[in-house]
Symmetry: C2
Subunit: 236 residues, 2 copies
């Protein structure tokens, strides 16, 4: 990021706190996060039922509960801002549901992979947005990301176990990972393009500089994803 943009971000952090466009942006951001967490909770706990062992069911259940806890915290934060969580979530319901419908796992392994891939991308994405927000909002986001139990780690270990000596599963999950990342990035892009720029995340950055930053963010998300796939021995 150039000196110029860094300066603009600094100025924004002190100036945006009360701007209506920024408040609307935050409401949207926490609305989409809240709905994302609520949906992930429901999908993950439904999928848990198809786990091969009771231990796996319990593990996936615990990860799902963690999503619900995040949902509750973000909802409480929205209420603290004077926003109605239901209203804040509503605009994102259709596109998040559509995302889940397009990425319905065919079995337990696809389900694990889905949460491994999408949780990591959304964490990266929210972390990147979080760094551009006021201190309080940034703190909420980073406290959710920096949880003591990283679900990525649990899912990674379980996937690695399944992939060991199963080249057929590996090639299937590599393909599936590519589909997932495509859908997830499309989803994320829609949010920043449709919502963030017009509503104040860009602050004093020009449209052109903003577009450059967004491209950089998506390259970063893609690189991180590829690295995570490589760690599993899969081609991204």
């Amino acid at each position: 990021m150039s000196e110029h943009n860094g300066g603009a971000a600094g100025a924004r952090a002190s100036a945006v706190g009360t701007a209506p466009a920024y408040t609307q942006f935050l409401t949207d951001l926490f609305g989409v996060i809240a709905y994302g967490e609520l949906s992930a909770f429901e999908r993950m706990s439904s999928d848990a039922r198809f786990s091969p062992t009771l231990r796996d069911r319990a593990t996936l259940g615990r990860l799902a509960v963690r999503e619900y806890t995040h949902f509750e915290r973000v909802s409480a934060h929205l209420e603290g801002m004077g926003a109605d969580p239901e209203q804040a979530m509503a605009p994102f319901q259709q596109s998040v549901d559509a995302f889940h419908d397009r990425t319905r796992p065919g079995d337990w392994h696809e389900s694990l992979m889905k949460f491994y891939v999408t949780d990591a991308i959304s964490d990266d994405f929210y972390a990147a947005l979080g760094s551009r927000l006021d201190d309080e909002s940034a703190a909420l986001i980073s406290s959710m990301l920096g949880s003591s139990e990283a679900p990525g780690e649990v899912l990674f270990v379980r996937l690695q176990e399944s992939l060991k000596d199963d080249p057929r599963l590996a090639s299937r999950l590599a393909l599936w990972g590519r589909r997932l990342v495509g859908e997830a990035l499309t989803q994320a892009q829609r949010i920043v393009i449709e919502r963030a720029f017009p509503k104040g995340l860009a602050g004093e950055v020009s449209r052109e500089d903003y577009d450059v930053q967004i491209r950089e963010l998506f390259s970063q998300l893609t690189r991180n994803h590829s690295r995570r796939m490589s760690l599993l021995g899969l081609t991204a």
Copy 2:
């Protein structure tokens, strides 16, 4: 309960703590409770997705999370007893799954009703068994039942709201309630008959006295169910 049975129960409470049959009974009991809670968590959170409003989804999600918390506590208790939770749950997996398959809700209202009816019956059932156990086991059960947020209350209010001025829904849910109670009591009966008597719950009570107590327990469960249905304006 007669004087005689009360005396037998008192003697048992002090004597059974270490008997292998009693330990096996406890393992079974906590195994079936744990699996029941884990399944309820998964089913409830899957059904939450079909809620008419986001507020309802959040509410059902919270109730589901509560079931998961119970599952974790019971699992920890099993581990504390030196039992493996997975092994303790396994014998009950098939029959609990079959129960859920036979009582798959057709819509949101049937889903609410299912949790309203079955949660209350299993709470009553476990409370009745709990009163016959050693102090530590009894304390665990009663602490789960005496939760600050009674799900029955939340579900009752929501059902009452939906049933108001909807006689068609009322007659449908009355029928559904009858099916649910039948399935739930069959399930509970199987547990006490197949598991409890041969494995030490009966203690020093004769088979005949035990059968009388069991009949009394099931009459009580049925009466409580009828009362709950009446409160909703439904015929049990």
